[in-house]
Amino acid sequence: MSFSEEIYRHHDSIVSRRIEDEVILVPIRQNVADLESIYTLSEVGARIWEQIDGRRTTAEILHLIVEEFEVTEEEAEKDLKEFIEQLSAIGAITRV
């Protein structure tokens, strides 16, 4: 399966919170990478996080990001790939 067809969902060991305009990921169970810290998301990161819902493909998310933010498709795809890898690495998302 190519990257664009992949679908991810949030892992239930991490919870996102929006406080003021800060979006954070709070690890809540032991199997998450690091319980001593929280993770903060940028505006784009927070938008991607909202779109990861166990139904949308990465291609759909990429399309939305290109539409909403001033970024080329090439750049956005590279960043999205990295972001998905990093979310997977900290145990925040799993592939459906």
């Binding site: 919870v15 996102s16 919170r17 406080i19 003021e20 305009d21 800060e22 954070i24 990921l25 709070v26 809540i28 169970r29 032991q30 990478a33 690091d34 319980l35 001593e36 810290s37 929280i38 993770y39 903060t40 998301l41 940028s42 990161g45 960043d79 990295e82 972001f83 990093q86 979310l87 690495a89 900290i90």
Partner: protein, 375 residues
Amino acid sequence: MECPHIPKIGYGEFGKRLREKIGAKRMPLAGSLELTFRCNLRCVHCYLGDARAGNPEKEELSHSEICDLVDQIVEEGCLWLLLTGGEPLLRPDFLEIYTYAKQKGLLISLFTNGTLITPQIADYLQDWRPFLVEITLYGRTRETYERITGVAGSYERCLRGIELLLDRDVPLRLKSMALTLNKHEIPAMKEYATGLGVGFRFDPMVNAGLDGAREPTNLRLAPEEVLELDLADAERAEEWRRFCARALQLAPDPERIYICSAGMRSFHIDPHGLLSVCIISRGRSYDLRRGSFHEAWHGCLPEVRDEAASGAYECNQCELISLCGQCPGWAQLEHGDQEKRVDFLCQVAHLRAQAFAAQPPAMPSQGIVVGRVDR
């Protein structure tokens, strides 16, 4: 792993950033929730507990009422929540409540006496790791500990609880109240905690009971003894020096009676659902069974928080106010008058200012008798 898209940040640093961002706006970032007034110990200095907590027949918040309140405080922006009591582990639904709050993304601290921690509870806390557990240690010998708690076997059970959490690497800190009965064991308690590799703090500032009872205050150390304990511990003395430097730069506010974050960034909810600005200051509270947290936080607590001082209040004109801990809550418990000076706090503050401030303020010529043993 450090990733460029998802900056990792320590909780303390994030809290500071958040507070700076919020600025002067009111927001309930941190709260405390007493799950019960009931306790399995009978501590001689207890300021609440079943004996002092008003109407013991009044029903505690149910599991579903608590979950509903958790939803409401999360909606308003709460991030740090302290679960306390009484002894919170006495509630049979404690782990369910704890888990619900965790799942909502709250950073949970737990205050417990440690005596009810079982291997099962410790396993659970290892998996669903809290932000922090604080266990109160009342002595470093069975005799002293149980003289305070009034329950045979409680010392061993407390030590066992500590071990169970440490074995599982649950974030833990120990603390104590420094009383006439255990003052001599404070250094040994700290040594024990240090040996275990966990933090330790103690508090000698014993307040009167929630019902105004004076009994707890009879166990206070003399102000000079409080200072002796501060000076005996180099680390603590240094902390007081740093705190004095900050506190003495803050200007008093002669217009208001509250100077802290109570009702601005923090709140307290008791086991019956009464919301107040803090755990000590409960003179005016709001029944969350009759209205929402949103209504109370935005509509009612500002009135408490912004209460103007009468001309007769002397403490909010004192340059040591940020150092001493004088507040409407303490004064209400001590005197039944939220603007009356608590002499014990005042005397300790003057002694600390003399000992730790780089430029100690002048001693008052009258009003405060420093050197007198006054509990």
